[in-house]
Symmetry: C2
Subunit: 376 residues, 2 copies
Amino acid sequence: MEFAIGQTDGKARTGVLRTAHGEVLTPLLMPCGTQGAVKGVTPDQLRACGVRMVLANAYHLMLRPGADVVASLGGLHRMMAWDGPLLTDSGGYQVFSLAHRRKVTDAGVSFRSHVDGAAVELTPETCMAVQADLGADVVMQLDECPPGGADRAAVADAVRRSADWAGRCKAAWEARGRRASAGHEQALFGIQQGGADAGLRAESARRLAELDLPGCAVGGLSVGEGHERMVAVLDRIDDQLPRERPRYLMGVGEPRDVLAAVARGVDLFDCVLPTRNGRNGQAFTGTGRLKLRNAAFARDGRPLEAGCPCPTCRAFSRAAIRHYLLAEEMIGPTLVTMHNLAFFARFLADIRRAIEDGRLAERSAEWLARLYPSAG
Amino acid sequence: MEFAIGQTDGKARTGVLRTAHGEVLTPLLMPCGTQGAVKGVTPDQLRACGVRMVLANAYHLMLRPGADVVASLGGLHRMMAWDGPLLTDSGGYQVFSLAHRRKVTDAGVSFRSHVDGAAVELTPETCMAVQADLGADVVMQLDECPPGGADRAAVADAVRRSADWAGRCKAAWEARGRRASAGHEQALFGIQQGGADAGLRAESARRLAELDLPGCAVGGLSVGEGHERMVAVLDRIDDQLPRERPRYLMGVGEPRDVLAAVARGVDLFDCVLPTRNGRNGQAFTGTGRLKLRNAAFARDGRPLEAGCPCPTCRAFSRAAIRHYLLAEEMIGPTLVTMHNLAFFARFLADIRRAIEDGRLAERSAEWLARLYPSAG
């Protein structure tokens, strides 16, 4: 994997991330294809909506259908019919949010599957083996994610353990020649932890820097700490995380947070907002969100957003989409999701243009004023 | 609307049906877009699957979102983003299968909406007004559909009432200049009733013939009477229903029934089989059906059907589709539905070719032997 930085504007930068399955422009937001599918949207539709890179989840896929099954089908790209860049999350976060009867030791984490209750053991080594079988272009280290309100000792433990696990993940990844089971190159990203604690964040970053991995993620945010604390952590990443490597802020996609993070040097994002809100009938637009089930849209013949070139806006009115949502037609959630994916693709493209033009601050202020008018 | 018969093979014929929204080749099967959407599939996907004409339901759409709403959005074609030929069923069948507290008189039928319990009155005249607002290319008369096991007197009543209503529908349709509210031409089809009773079928056909409508449907079949009784009714339609007009067998799509009906002079079909079975994870293939949730498909890397050019088979394995179905990913039902729609499009295209080649009987025998091997 190569990462070439293009223009900069303060700490913000544009870049090109080159992977075994093509290249993408950064800053970029990946939609979540947790179980190997972006919910409600086929790969053809993803491309039509401007999606260029997708996240999937090793935790979900190792439990169902199983990493061995995915490998026997030729890997995750082939299984999900997505030939573009793909990233798999390690499962660390999911083990700590979904699994039952979880037990963490320095060796790894054992838990019960949320799918069928089966006992599962996840170590840095098995985590790398699973992700090698899945075959994403970017794989994530196994980390420990303490809950939002964890005390300092628990967060410190998670920092130390995550750093130890990063080293073991690196060793396992190198033992495989930094390659997927199918043979193509995989890039391993480390994950910074430390909650909202500046000292622990610094320690976590220092230990990650020693490993010199192809990329670094900022984990453990967007867990209820609030925008201000998130920003305080992000304020330091430009000094803490290698400048020439991509930086990935995990689980963040709220436009306000994206703008703040890009200005502080973040390159990659993933978030369920476009898909989850789409399924719930909430459409993102440049002037705020539309709750399409509202009676106000019953006869609204306009597209979700004027001028939007997405497949939904080219063909369907708000009233039609509202009807599909109320009538529980499957295409209702699909249509709103497609628009939201296209909205985020346009939003990130606009951010990249603003960085190239050296006017990110100005453009961010415009976005914020339009997206959150009541906050002004 | 024009209907031009091409080749014939016995009673079977190919044809071209020309409507205000383009032409289609017959014999043809329409998938059901009951509420203004073919379940789980967008119009772009419909086209990619070879679908050329769609059915929607006046009953469902008048209750939600309302025919006036559809009209204010520019009509049903525009609302559902389908610019090809469209047919709306009148609601007769639905009133008799879905509505509550139904009361039939010669004037019409009053009932409670299955959506919100509202009291609704449907007469031949309001039924035509609703369908004019919806704006399909083919509209159906209001008819009375007796249940499968109704006695002769009830079926005779339904025949008489349906014939009376056909006349009133024709008058209302002519009073509108045979046009939709949006201005384009609409063709009105009558519906033959009479259950499995040869005498009543003949009487129903005779009364319909007097009206000289652009097309005739065979209603009241596929309600549990079985293949043999259905065939016995169809044996007579070539003599009973105008030969130069399209004949539409309502609610039929089981391949065995389609083959029998085409051989007896039927041109049009509609059926929920491709979509309903698709949602349930059942795929049609030339050698029978696949229940994709079966463990047998867990590692099956083959497409649903070898050589199928549909979007699903070009990209996804049976194992991937099984995973999506078990994981309750929305694209699972969508992918199987798309394949089924493409299967039926290919099946009907093959039937048309067989008629053109004068070998429908031979080809039908081949289909039957492959689709229903245990019946041989």
